[in-house]
């Protein structure tokens, strides 16, 4: 699974840094490093809904305070299916 987090300037201001860190921690805790590839990208053109994240190409929106929820549903949840 490829998860790309926008680190463009707008998302950066909205906390993409924290989102990246949280996701890295969660992936490590659950030992999902082999299954989840985290990457950065510059601007996905959807700045008003930042922080922008794509999961296998599907565009989504995450906030620093919703990272856990997002991880359970869109990453761990999808992998479990």
């Amino acid at each position: 699974m490829k998860v790309t987090i926008c680190i463009g300037s707008s998302c950066h201001l909205k906390g993409s840094r924290q989102v990246v860190e949280e996701l890295q921690n969660l992936v490590e805790q659950r030992r999902l490093g082999d299954q989840v590839e985290l990457a950065g990208a510059f601007c996905m053109g959807n700045c008003q809904n930042g922080v922008c994240v794509t999961v296998d190409g599907e565009l989504m929106s995450v906030k620093p305070e919703t990272v856990n929820e997002f991880f359970e549903k869109e990453i761990a949840g999808r992998l479990a299916q």
């Binding site: 300037s9 950066h12 990457a39």
Partner: protein, 474 residues
Amino acid sequence: MRKFDTKVQELKYKVLREVARLAFEDRLLENVTDIPKTIVPGKNPTMRCCIYKERAIVSERVKMAMGGDKSNSNIVEVIDIACDECPVGGYEVSDACRGCIAHRCEENCRRGAIVFDANQKAHIDKSKCVECGKCASVCPYGAIMNHKRPCERACSVKAIHMSEEKTAQIDNEKCIGCGACVYQCPFGAIMDKSFLLDVVKLIKESRGGEAYKLYAVVAPSISSQFTYAKLGQVISGIKQLGFFHVVEAALGADMVAWDEAKELTEKGFLTSSCCPAFVQFIRSQFPELSDKISSNLSPLATIAKYIKETTPGAKIVFIGPCTAKKAEVQQERVRPYVDAVITFEELQALFDSRDVDITALPEDVLDNASYYGRIFARSGGLTDAVTEALREQGDTDFVFKPIACDGIDACKKALLRASKGVLDANFIEGMACMGGCIGGAGCLTHGEKDKNEVDKYGMEAYEKKITDAISVLK
């Protein structure tokens, strides 16, 4: 309010602006021959003997603005008719010599080149003089002058000589493209080729991001430029021109510092790879040290590669202070990642060709890079970043002994010692321009304050550590 150091820069800028304006309006082909008259309206000459010569030189500048002589691979060219054929006498004693008793000039000349006439006035025996300048530095009256051409004096690699026609001539084998002569020639007779038209084409063909995403990668020295506006306004201006996004080359610098620290601990001795003029200097003058050059791509190429690999179809324009970058991106290993390079001078011309008044724009943001990536713009910054990278990598056994050199003369000294194995350092940070990139030939202004501006902007970074900035990119 335009800020250039010299009128030569301003003249060059005006030409670039007109060329860009016509290109944006799709009128370049029909109206290109009118540009000299627009710039030199007449009737009275202000720069040369007559307006016809002024216009003839402007047409040569127009050629350079449109990419210059395609058969000449060097990105720096001499405009023959603009060269004033300055005198080339070297050190000479002027009338200010009072025929004193001390004769410090004679005492300090190791070659015995100072001779005296019946009035005790000094003269230089040119058959013995080696142009060391000792006599000039000790004369209490400052009576000894160096009549070397400004271009030759600026060229530390000695690539400029006088041709048979007495105009300046560049030896392409020796030239490293640093642009020092471009900035120093008081007549503006040496210019860097411009790729502005490529950029206009990239902007137009991206159709506001519909056809492809056009990225501007800006050099960290931008924080010392466009001082009449806020940095955030410059970023807004770049986007207004039609760029999709603006990325800091400083983020590439973070990545390079990280990898360079690793490579250094493996190899034990390294020279930096950020400055293309420094790299070229080693290759041409110290080929025996070529294997010591860091194998990393430059910060620009590193971040551009990352963008191209993550964003299919993306096109990239680098905007910086550097003429040598124009040559760097022509190399095989860099060409795939960077589509065009322009300087800050050329960015100013682009803004004004579209009548973009950046002082009236809202402030956008530019971030991602760490403090360390951002201070690459000044001499010593790269060294600080590698020090930090080693610390963050937890490598405490390795004894880091860096030497930071700015200006080719300083680089040459360190490289000479390294080639003889007597340099007390295991890392050479080499920057061809004085003060580092903030002294680049393509900067709008060059000043003492610039270093402070770079440091100040570095301190504003959210990312305090290199790891913070690059973790997601790895």
